[in-house]
């Protein structure tokens, strides 16, 4: 069998299941089993998606959302990794911050929007900061864990071979924490997308969340589904992108769950 043929045989279920689902939906809508007003045919949605892309509407909203995610994620990653490393290295700090984090972390992030709006200029900055909150906690948590789970024997061996102070941090503790940090970044990026869309639904007039909500309110259901699809695709692309980056930057991490 050719390589492509083998790949297809291996992945036929993975590829086939969404296709089957869409086909069933198409058929059910066409046959009148689903109400076309709420469940338009996927082929119709695709046409609307094409229109949104052609007249530029989609790209404007997409760019806005991407920019917000970019700022929020950078903010969360920078502060989250720094805080997480500090908490991983200093027990006192960890003991002090753990309970605070435990209380704040489970609060749904959208609820921070009004609070954040008191603290920073409302509008774009408040939106970005609110989006960063949950990602920050996730990244800080996993980074702390990353430092703490480093094999003590490895650290001991590194010391024995003369690594101390800054060198121990840069050559041992930081690389040792990197796999966990990447897990945090991936989760954090996913949450940034979730929260930014939620915040856009609540309070913005631009961005994918706003587009989705406005489409729904004026009953442009096809546009709503089209936006929905774009958001889902964006989430998948961001997640896979970071996974690919990780494989490239951390070649020493054995692949988990390789198929």
């Amino acid at each position: 069998m050719s390589a492509a043929g083998r790949w297809l045989a291996d992945h036929c279920i993975t590829i086939g299941s969404p296709i089957a689902l869409v086909a069933a939906w198409e058929w059910a809508s066409a046959a009148g089993l689903l109400r076309a007003a709420f469940f338009p045919r996927p082929s119709t949605i695709a046409v609307h998606l094409g229109d949104l892309a052609l007249d530029g509407t989609l790209w404007g909203h997409l760019a806005t959302t991407l920019a917000r995610i970019g700022w929020s994620f950078s903010l969360a990653a920078l502060l989250g990794v720094a805080t997480g490393l500090a908490m991983g290295l200093w027990r006192r700090l960890r003991e002090g911050l753990d309970p605070v984090f435990a209380v704040i972390y489970p609060i749904p992030s959208v609820l921070f929007l009004p609070l954040v709006s008191f603290l920073v200029p409302p509008g774009e900055i408040a939106l970005v900061v609110t989006t960063a909150v949950t990602s920050f906690f996730l990244i800080a948590f996993t980074t702390t864990h990353g430092v703490r789970q480093i094999d003590r024997l490895v650290v001991e061996a590194a010391r024995h071979y003369g690594a101390g102070g800054w060198r121990l941090f840069a050559a041992v503790l930081l690389p040792g924490a990197m796999p966990s940090i990447f897990t945090g970044l991936r989760l954090g990026l996913g949450f940034a997308l979730i929260v930014v869309v939620a915040v856009e639904i609540v309070s913005a007039s631009r961005g994918l969340g706003a587009l989705l909500w406005l489409s729904w309110q004026v009953l442009k259901v096809e546009d709503m589904y089209a936006t929905f699809f774009v958001i889902a695709l964006l989430g998948a692309l961001l997640s896979y992108g970071l996974a690919a980056l990780r494989a490239r930057l951390l070649p020493w991490v054995p692949e988990v769950g390789e198929r």
């Binding site: 094999d151 061996a157 010391r159 024995h160 003369g162 041992v172 020493w252 991490v253 054995p254």
Partner: protein
């Protein structure tokens, strides 16, 4: 080269006094919990003994006194084989060209030249331990410390590695302190065998191993080997029984299991 350690420490060791000769291969055996590893860690400077002293005579400034081969290899997973070997040199500020030349030399010696750019997770247990040995040797220490380096390997790999060790030691003439729980291994490798008692660890007896050099696995067939093994084993056996009894006692008190 001499060292003395009179640790009346809470942990494990009591009035250990030992001299290791330059170029000697000294094996340390004893029941579990006799403080074999602790002794090695004290020598390595990983444990600060509360009392007692370690003296290592060295006339080459700039090289470390000891380098340790750890039982669980303890390689840095994020460094390639070569960069693991050069790690100690890097920390001491040895220039790059010299580091890499040294790594090439050591990797050739342990037969891993082709794997210089691999990561530890891509290697078998025996290969990882070869890297551990190359890493230690690259630092050119006065004393090479080895803490049951072959204990985690399967029997065949261990036999191969034992012969490799003998070859490397014959080539470099390093002073080695080698902790093992295997008497057979100690007799195959060592010039002398130090038998430690059950906790607290003391020197029970020091046995010279007069089985000639070069030595290989075939030494096991000689009568002298069998006799020495029997002599040391009868003494070690008592200590092992005592150690087990002591553990049981502690276990019934709910202190340890």
């Amino acid at each position: 080269m001499t060292f003395e350690s009179r640790g009346r420490s809470v942990v494990a060791l009591d009035r250990i006094s030992l001299q290791v000769h330059a170029g000697e291969f000294l094996c340390v055996v004893g029941p579990s919990g006799s403080g074999k590893s602790t002794l090695l860690r004290v020598l390595a400077g990983l444990h600060r003994q509360s009392t007692g002293e370690v003296r290592i005579e060295a006339d080459r400034p700039g090289t470390p006194l000891t380098a340790m081969v750890f039982q669980e290899h303890a390689l840095l997973p994020w460094r390639t084989v070569r960069d693991n070997v050069t790690f100690g040199l890097e920390n001491r500020g040895v220039v790059r060209a010299e580091r890499e030349a040294r790594a090439r030399e050591m990797l050739a010696m342990v037969g891993l030249t082709r794997f210089a750019q691999h990561y530890p997770h891509q290697l078998s247990g025996g290969m990882k331990q070869r890297v551990g040995i190359a890493r230690a040797l690259a630092n050119d220490p006065e004393v090479l410390l080895m803490d049951e380096p072959l204990a985690a390997l399967d029997a065949q790999t261990r036999a191969i590695m034992q012969e490799e060790l003998l070859r490397i030691w014959a080539t470099l003439g390093k002073t080695v302190v080698y902790v093992t729980h295997s008497l057979e291994e100690a007799l195959l490798l060592g010039d002398r065998v130090v038998l430690l008692t059950a906790r607290p660890g003391r020197v029970s007896q020091i046995y010279p191993v007069d089985l000639g050099r070069p030595r290989g696995l075939e030494v096991r067939a000689s009568p002298a080997y069998g006799a020495l093994l029997e002599t040391i084993w009868s003494r070690l056996r008592e200590e092992v029984v005592r150690a087990i009894a002591a553990d049981r006692g502690a276990g019934s008190d709910g202190v340890a299991t």
